[in-house]
């Protein structure tokens, strides 16, 4: 009998779940032998309030391993996460939403109420609509990463995470060892030609394709940052690489940092901008620099822009 495991998704898009399925051939043995899944909304019908929905308190069965995906956006997420923490020995935060807030944490850069009102008054929405509030979980003040709310034992970022690494973590957990996960940046896995960033003075928007010879491997392509594109490889933790190169770079597209900061508490915006200015690049050439935090906006990194009251400079 495998290790009892509970899966839950919070503010997620189910991309992480799909990534699990993408483990491939080994999936079958993994979900039937290595693991003994006792709760997983996407795959099985275990219910929170009893199978007939008569219960009143949310319950998840005990499990050795707990895997949560998604960030914590609303009360239900919080309740579920806390229940997971209660019932699982080892809690794994899977995917960048769970580890650093992910895309939904872009909301942290907005005024929530204003935004929601906007959403329920679009051109196509019936006039006079109110923000729903019956039997739907109320939102939290902002989007949180899981470790902001409960103790997390292990983190595996990625949007989505790399199936290989998911496999490694699950097997490691089952075998009770520490999984081998990348600690360096995307560049470490990137074979593109690099010389130095000094010659670039501005970053270009990605409105033209990068320079490369079609059909040639990416190790014959010049580093995209050195081509003048904003590539976040240097400030993003590795893990996306498959088939000898980072995913986006293999698609000849600059990295946008979907695995989160290279150092767990690193600050992608600060580190990226610092990397640029230290090399004499004009950081103002970055259109909408706040979206550099599009994957790691939790942990209070991304905040609504504050309008400042003019204050007499203290002299």
């Amino acid at each position: 009998m495998g290790v009892t495991t509970a899966l839950e998704w919070l503010g997620s898009c189910s991309g992480c779940e799909i990534a699990i399925l993408n483990i491939g051939e080994d999936l079958v043995s993994l979900i039937t032998e290595t693991l003994n899944i006792v709760h997983a909304p996407i795959l099985m019908d275990h219910k929170y309030f009893g199978q007939c929905g008569e219960g009143v308190t949310l319950e998840i069965p005990e499990a050795v391993v707990g895997i949560v995906t998604g960030g914590v956006n609303n009360r239900e997420h919080l309740e579920v996460l806390q229940e997971m923490r209660k019932k699982c020995k080892v809690l794994l935060a899977l995917g960048t939403c769970a580890t650093h807030g992910g895309i939904p944490a872009l909301m942290n850069g907005q005024d929530q109420l204003e935004s929601w009102e906007g959403i329920f008054s679009t051109v196509s929405t019936d006039p006079g609509a109110e923000i729903p509030n019956v039997e739907v979980p109320p939102p939290l003040d902002r989007v949180y990463a899981c470790d902001e709310k409960v103790k997390i034992d292990m983190q595996l970022p990625g949007c989505p995470p790399n199936p290989e690494l998911i496999g490694e973590v699950i097997v490691a957990l089952a075998e009770g060892r520490v999984p081998v996960l990348p600690g360096k940046s995307v560049c470490d896995t990137c074979p593109t030609k690099r010389e130095g960033k000094g010659m670039v003075d501005k970053v270009k928007r990605f409105i033209n394709n990068v320079e490369f010879k079609p059909g040639t491997p990416i190790d014959e392509m010049r580093c995209l940052l050195e081509q003048g594109y904003m590539c976040m490889g240097p400030v993003t933790v590795a893990g996306c690489a498959k088939r000898g190169g980072p995913s986006c770079i293999s698609a000849r597209v600059p990295c946008r940092g979907c695995f989160g900061p290279v150092r767990r508490d690193g600050n992608q915006l600060l580190d990226m901008m610092n990397g640029l200015v230290s090399n004499g690049l004009d950081f103002k050439s970055v259109v909408d620099r706040r979206s550099v935090l599009r994957f790691s906006g939790a942990h209070g990194r991304l905040r609504p822009v504050k309008k400042r009251v003019a204050r007499g400079k203290v002299k």
Binding site: T189, K197, P234, V235, R263
Partner: protein, 941 residues
């Protein structure tokens, strides 16, 4: 050898036999552990010479806490036991070490040496001899040296300025200048001691800091602040420390009879006779050669000047009249610290020139115990809190600080010292490291910039890596700047110690890196300084490249006729040029300039470009900048429009050619400080006073009927030059003082030139009819100094002269290792000082060239292969191109990449570290971990 004196020097240069007489110490140096018990027990109190009679000491004593060797001694003249056998002997009883030896006897040593350097220094003039200043009679008349002790934290009053007579806090103090200087009637010392003006200002400023509200007045004849940045200091004293300067000679000091206050009567600026009362009068006593030094000179058979200083020449300022015997410091004339330090190096250069054939024959390397590997050990931090006399303890609650330190993580030992830097503390720390098995040290004291090297040595001596020490700067950046806020200062001190501890815990042992040395020298500038330096290096056996911009060697000296002592400059320069030209170790590059430079100490590569555009590359281990200076072209005094208004340099030429105007002229007016000592050029050109006085003397000697006027602000014929000033006055040269706000007015009026000036003595406007006006023009820094400074990263000061590493203790070094400065490039100075500085620079350069490799500081960028992933963000930010991107696994492109740092090129600036998003590169000694730890510690609590 301490307590020792030289009695005879026999033999010749290269092989002297020196007889040294060592006096008995009565304390066995081997046994004495300097515990101080003997002093405590000693019943005999006598006045303390070191405190200049302001305090007391015992008959068994150490001269001062920092004395080296720190061994006690017995003063035979006052020791009860040594005076009367059988009496006392208390010290012997208490000395557990059994170091006391009343039967100690003097010894005679004979040493065989190749050369001798005489640096017996000076003594201060004793004003007691002449009663006029009431010194010795009025307790509140003290000497500047005594004041120095009163102001010192380790002095009798721990820095509090109180009256000797009644302990009353001093509110009003007067400094009387030229006591025992420039005065033949009272003391026979006609010369100027040249340091007193500056030290008086310094004491006035410090005194004011110690007791705010203090009124300070300096009574002087001429303020002789001719040193580098001295005039700026004086202006600051005047403005910010409100020191009052009164130009007049005070002829006597009296009491008001009733109290201990002192009355001075003098003629004030308005020419009125006034009387003023002071709490204290400080006599700025001059320097003179001590008796024993005169005997020494006599024994050594070297000539002295009329002023009793060792006779030297301007082109060989450290060479005495006897070959093989050299001198430095005030023995060859009054000098300040930088000059003395320079002189020391210069003497060393002269000696090594003489002895270079036998270099390294007797030398042995200092060896330190093997370094203990502490990398895996749990940190054991020892904290040593320095009181620095009362400098720290006077403000910071050292007890509380020490107490607090014991609570800090990993701290296993805490101790307080009176002076952590004293030799005994060093030994003690070394001791503690061993016995307490400490592997990290925090010194809570002064600034690492001045003292870190000292403590690093101590760690080495204790077998610890020298980088495992961290200093908490609780003096310069705490107790001294929060004097009025002891609580705040104490809690800040705690923070600083906490930060230091946090940092040192993260410190690792670093290995200094050593790089091979290209044993060749480069000298930039072919003037006297440049040639002298080049020649000395060459004669010490090193190949030298001498780069001169023009087509002729000699530089500014080519404009000069005589040195102040009367040596004929053209002749001497000629000799020097010949020696340089004929020395086959010197490669001369005329009409060349340095256009590019790279490298580092021991391995410079300089590119020089000729007028013809040709280029050469010179590899050298050290470089000396002797690019000289320029003349100021006056904008003032109608120099442009009036033909007979000329510069001093022009005048010399005209005079030499016996040009008609000069021949015919009856009235000559010299105007001093043209372009010097004013707003944007607040520095003294140092040579002009002497120069004008010399010209005036020549004119007068030639024809006594000529009227020669010198309009000056302060006549700065410092040192033994004073004799010239005296002679000029004797010859009837008229000196008229003017102030900056009342500059002379020069206008052409037909055949004559009208010079108007306010006379401060007669207190009326004076109109002089001059046939010729000579402007004593300033020395200006070289225009291209900035270019050179960029090439080699050499700092220049606010006036545009090159900035030495430390104005007092490193006067010829640059902050850039392996580069040195000499001559006018550094600051205006007369020939003998240029020569001395050139020799000094040479000797400093040779300390590098004489080695086959130099070791560099361990503060370098270190790649952390665990984190560096070769993103190449740092490659282009390195100012020294020290970073390259390589395959992690040699020639395996798929193995990933990382950066390599060229240790020799890396200067440890940390720009790479500041750019790295993943802590992949760290500056050893300043790692992200260390700095983060410091930040967190600073903000903890």
């Amino acid at each position: 050898m301490t307590l020792s004196e030289i009695t005879t020097i026999d033999g010749l240069a290269g092989n002297f036999t020196v007889t040294v007489e060592e006096a008995p110490r009565y304390v066995d140096q081997e046994k004495c552990i300097a515990c101080g018990d003997c002093t405590e027990k000693c019943p005999k109190e006598v006045v303390n010479e070191f405190d200049a009679e302001t305090g007391k000491r015992k008959a068994v004593y150490v001269k001062y806490p920092q004395a080296v060797p720190l061994k006690y001694q017995i003063d035979a003249d006052t020791c009860i036991r040594l005076q009367k056998t059988g009496a006392c002997g208390a010290c012997e009883e208490v000395c557990d070490a059994g170091a006391i030896n009343f039967d100690d006897v003097g010894r005679i040593h004979e040493v065989n040496v190749g050369a001798v350097v005489m640096a017996p220094g000076f003594e201060v003039f004793d004003p007691a001899d002449s009663g006029v200043w009431g010194y010795g009679t009025f307790p509140n008349v003290i000497t500047s040296l005594q004041l120095e002790r009163y102001l010192s934290a380790s002095g009798p009053t721990e820095g509090q300025l109180v009256r000797p007579s009644d302990g009353k806090v001093v509110n009003k103090v007067a400094f009387l200048q030229c006591i025992g200087s420039r005065d033949e009637n009272l003391c026979g010392n006609g010369y100027c001691s040249s340091v007193c003006c500056m030290y008086a200002i310094k004491e006035a400023v410090t005194a004011k800091v110690n007791s705010p509200g203090l009124q300070t007045s300096i009574f002087y004849m001429d303020m002789r602040t001719h040193g580098k940045e001295f005039d700026q200091y004086m202006e600051r004293a005047r403005e910010t420390s409100s020191v009052r300067f009164v130009r007049c000679r005070v002829n006597g000091v009296e009491t008001d009879g009733t109290s201990d206050d002192l009355r001075l009567s003098y003629v004030n600026e308005e020419g009125r006779q006034v009387e003023e009362l002071f709490d204290m009068v400080v006599l700025s006593v001059g320097l003179q050669t001590p008796k024993h030094a005169l005997e020494l000179a006599h024994n050594a058979g070297i000539k002295l000047t009329g002023d009793n200083f060792a006779a030297t020449t301007d082109f060989a300022p450290v060479q005495t009249s006897r070959e093989g015997i050299f001198t430095c410091g005030s023995f060859s004339g009054p000098k300040n610290i930088p000059q003395s330090v320079t002189g020391g190096s210069a003497a060393a250069a002269a000696v090594s020139d003489l002895l270079s054939p036998s270099r390294f024959e007797f030398s042995t390397d200092v060896s330190f115990p093997d370094e203990k590997d502490v990398s895996v050990d749990q940190p054991r931090v020892g904290v040593f809190v320095c009181r620095c006399g009362s400098n720290i303890a006077g403000v910071v609650d050292v007890e509380a600080l020490a107490e607090y330190s014991t609570l800090l993580p990993e701290v296993v030992y805490v101790e307080k010292n009176l002076f952590s830097c004293s030799q005994d503390s060093q030994d003690m720390i070394e001791e503690r490291i061993r016995e307490q098995n400490l592997n990290r040290i925090v010194i809570a004291a002064c600034s690492p910039r001045t003292h870190e090297p000292l403590f690093r040595k101590t760690l080495k001596a204790a077998g610890l890596n020298e980088y495992l020490v961290e200093m908490a700067n609780i003096r310069n950046q705490n107790s001294w700047v929060h004097i009025a806020e002891p609580e705040a200062a104490t809690s800040k001190a705690k923070d600083l110690v906490r930060m230091a501890v946090a940092r040192v815990i993260c410190s690792d042992s670093l290995k200094p890196i050593s790089v091979p040395v290209m044993q060749k020298g480069l000298v930039i500038g072919g003037g006297i300084a440049g040639m002298t330096a080049a020649l000395n290096m060459a004669e010490q056996g090193f190949e030298v490249h001498l780069v001169e911009r023009t087509d002729i060697l000699g530089g500014n000296a080519l404009n000069l006729k005589h040195t102040w002592s009367g040596q004929h400059v053209p002749t001497e320069v000629g000799k020097l040029v010949d020696k340089v030209v004929w020395n086959e170790k010197i490669v001369i590059h005329k009409e060349f300039e340095v256009t590019a430079a790279e490298g580092f100490v021991g391995n410079f590569r300089s590119t020089i470009t000729g007028k013809d555009g040709s280029q050469k590359t010179i590899e050298h281990g050290a470089g000396i900048v002797a690019t000289g200076a320029e003349q100021y072209i006056p904008q003032e005094y109608n120099y442009e429009s009036i033909t007979r208004v000329v510069t001093s340099v022009q005048f010399d030429k005209l005079y030499e050619l016996n040009e008609v105007h000069v021949r015919k002229a009856k009235n000559f007016v010299f105007i001093q400080c043209v372009g010097s000592r004013e707003e944007n050029n607040m520095y003294c050109s140092k040579v002009c006073c002497t120069h004008s006085v010399q010209s005036a003397i020549a004119l007068k000697k030639e024809n006594p009927n000529r009227n020669v006027y010198i309009l000056y602000r302060d006549i700065r014929t410092y040192g033994q030059r004073e004799a010239l000033y005296k002679q000029a006055r004797k010859l009837g040269v008229i000196f008229i003082n003017y102030e900056l706000h009342g500059k002379p007015n020069v206008a052409e009026n037909g055949q004559v030139i009208n010079v108007e000036i306010w006379d401060h003595v007669l207190h009326r406007l004076l109109r002089l009819e001059a046939d010729m006006v000579i402007l004593a023009i300033a020395v200006r820094p070289n225009g291209d100094a900035s270019t050179l400074s960029k090439l080699y990263k050499l700092p220049v000061d606010g006036d545009g002269f090159f900035q030495e590493a430390h104005s007092k203790i490193r006067p010829v070094d640059f902050s850039v290792d392996g580069m040195f400065v000499a001559g006018l490039a550094h600051y205006p100075k007369p020939i003998e000082e240029s020569v001395a500085q050139a020799l000094a620079a040479s000797s400093r350069a040779v300390t590098i060239l004489s080695k086959t490799k130099v070791s560099l500081d361990g503060v370098k960028a270190i790649v952390d292969e665990e984190y560096c992933d070769g993103c190449a963000l740092c490659v282009d930010v390195c100012p020294y191109d020290a970073i390259t991107l390589v395959d992690r696994v040699a020639d395996d492109p798929d193995g990933g990449k990382l950066i390599r740092v060229n240790q020799a090129q890396c200067k440890g600036c940390g720009i790479c570290q500041g750019s790295c998003p993943k802590r992949g590169v760290n500056i050893a000694g300043f790692t992200m971990k260390q700095i983060s730890a410091q930040i967190s510690a600073a903000l903890a609590v």
